[in-house]
């Protein structure tokens, strides 16, 4: 039984200095509202190595979106810091791209598909020829090369999210942040999009941080899963997903190892909901 336990850390895994691409250090976020302070994130520390695909999973209301916005530089933290390549993140960094859950509102409805993908590049001053190439490549990569002239709202939800992914990919980020990107699409489309993320990740070697509330999705997608506690949020556990690199919706999901990992993550989240805190994390808070 013991050998079946995944390689795990209580609290987030950190890397030796200089090896991490993205570092989150003692991140804390408190919202000040008229009704009093709300502590969304208490104390988070973890590292992402270059080229990793990491899923963040946690119960709803566990501050996942808050954490992602802090990492993306869209929201300031109360204390602690986020480092990208050793540089402190104070605003949205050039090397990061975000894919939002609300694809319908994140894509600009007045721009056609190709124009949406092109806009960040145009704004960054990328020359026209290069832009054309990047847009074509990105649309090709997400399987939308045939609809560059459509408007986003003419497409299905899944295709719209593909456009948003293409826009992020064309921007050539080092880190791709995804905030529950498939929460609003149907199950069939979702499976396709999950495979799309794996293939894009492999092809481009980009570092991906994928936030989700879906346990199965986190295990299927990730090379590593960071489990968050319920609010106020800390890292409950940080586990390595030792599934084969080639993932398949049917094969992988029916592997005994998949089921074991699923059980493990599920149990951890249940513990988290009941207020259990890992010891490592508690000492960190005390410090």
């Amino acid at each position: 039984m013991l050998s079946n336990n995944p390689t795990s850390h209580a609290g987030g895994r950190t890397l030796p200095e200089g090896q991490a691409l993205l570092s989150v250090r003692n991140l804390k976020k408190v919202y000040h509202t008229d009704a009093g302070d709300i502590e969304a994130v208490r104390n988070l520390t973890f590292d992402l190595g270059r080229g990793e695909l990491v899923c963040l999973v946690g119960p709803s209301g566990s501050g996942k979106t808050t954490l992602l916005k802090c990492i993306a530089g869209l929201l300031g933290s109360t204390s602690g810091e986020v480092l990208l390549d050793g540089q402190k993140v104070t605003g949205p960094p050039k090397k990061m791209a975000v894919v939002f859950q609300e694809y319908g509102r994140s894509l600009f409805p007045w721009l056609r598909v190709a124009e949406n993908v092109e806009l960040p590049l145009k704004n960054a001053g990328v020359p026209k020829e290069e832009r054309k190439r990047l847009v074509a490549e990105a649309l090709e990569a997400v399987g939308l090369a045939h609809v560059p002239k459509s408007y986003p709202w003419q497409l299905s939800g899944g295709m719209q999210q593909r456009v948003a992914i293409a826009r992020a990919v064309a921007y050539q980020p080092e880190v791709l942040l995804m905030d529950e990107p498939f929460a609003a699409v149907d199950a069939q489309t979702r499976a396709d999009l999950e495979d799309l993320i794996r293939s894009v990740w492999k092809k481009l070697g980009v570092t991906v941080l994928f936030v989700t509330h879906d346990i199965d999705e986190s295990i299927y997608l990730g090379e590593r899963v960071i489990i968050l506690s319920s609010s106020p949020t800390i890292v409950q556990e940080d586990i390595v997903i030792d599934l084969p690199a080639e993932r398949d919706q049917l094969e992988t999901r029916s592997l005994p190892r998949f089921t074991e990992l699923r059980h493990h993550v599920y149990a951890e989240i249940q513990k988290a909901k009941q207020g259990h805190r890992p010891e490592g994390a508690i000492t960190m808070v005390a410090k």
């Binding site: 949205p92 509102r105 994140s106 960040p120 003419q154 826009r167």
Partner: protein, 257 residues
């Protein structure tokens, strides 16, 4: 068949109205209401000649300059106010006050301040047309989707680029609704400003005709105003179809769901 039908819809009511008018005036002549044929001949005689250059054209120029200036100023000011919370809090009550003022009362004041010239008339048109554009722009900028804002920020689209690529397009449907109101206000103010103090223009000429009991000529002037209004409306719709194609498509999709 389909085009025939739409032409039928377009011309049906005007034909009925003309027929009614013709029947109503075919009996004993009424000094104040000319027959259709009399009006047509008067219309051609009165307006297809020197008056086109001395009265119609100057009026249209004032209208166009005034409305365009109001649109540009309204959008520029609206962007500034809409994007700045403090500025908005300070200016909004004042704007509501100025908007509530009927612009014709400004004509005598502007006559003194600007003088009796084209500038005064354009100023009157601007003073009335700017409000719907300004207030709608503020509203459009204020109601921008926060997810769109975060998208722009995360992709480094800030400052003027953000105004150009995100805020203006996103506020365009609301701004266009304001422009539409501004056009009809503009036409009214053009006539009124010319009635007060002028030596040319449609408003001036129509008042001249009234005072000299040139009744068919007066009616023909009113027809000219109507035609200008229709032309403006067509131009507006043409522009709107192009600028807001995405918006109408989006609404259609949303309504279909």
């Amino acid at each position: 068949m389909k085009t025939l039908k739409s032409i039928g819809y377009l011309l049906g009511l005007p034909v009925i109205l003309l027929a009614w008018w013709w029947l109503a005036t075919s009996g004993e002549p009424n000094f104040f209401v000319p027959t259709p044929s009399r009006l047509v001949t008067t219309f051609v005689e009165t307006w297809f000649g020197e008056r086109m250059l001395t009265d119609v054209l100057p009026s249209i120029m004032r209208l166009v300059f005034g409305v365009l200036a109001a649109i540009v100023l309204g959008i520029a000011l609206g962007l500034a106010v809409g994007l700045n919370r403090t500025l908005r809090a300070v200016t909004e009550p004042v704007f509501e006050f100025f908007r509530a003022l009927p612009p014709p009362v400004l004509v005598p004041v502007l006559m003194l301040l600007v003088g009796i010239n084209d500038g005064m008339k354009i100023a009157v048109i601007i003073s009335g047309c700017i409000w719907p554009v300004l207030l709608n722009t503020i509203e459009g900028v204020r109601s921008i989707d926060p997810v769109q804002n975060e998208t722009s920020r995360s992709y480094g689209i800030t400052g003027f680029a953000r105004i150009r690529y995100q805020i203006l397009p996103s506020a365009t449907p609301t701004i266009m609704a304001g422009v539409r109101q501004a056009l009809s206000i503009g036409l009214i103010l053009m006539v009124i400003s010319e009635m007060f103090a002028s030596s040319s223009g449609l408003g001036f000429t129509i008042v001249q005709f009234q005072r000299s009991f040139a009744v068919p000529e007066m009616w023909s002037g009113i027809v000219v105003l109507g035609l200008i209004g229709v032309a403006l409306s067509f131009i507006f719709q043409w522009v709107q179809r192009r600028v807001l194609r995405w918006y109408h498509g989006l609404k259609e999709v949303e309504n279909a769901v």
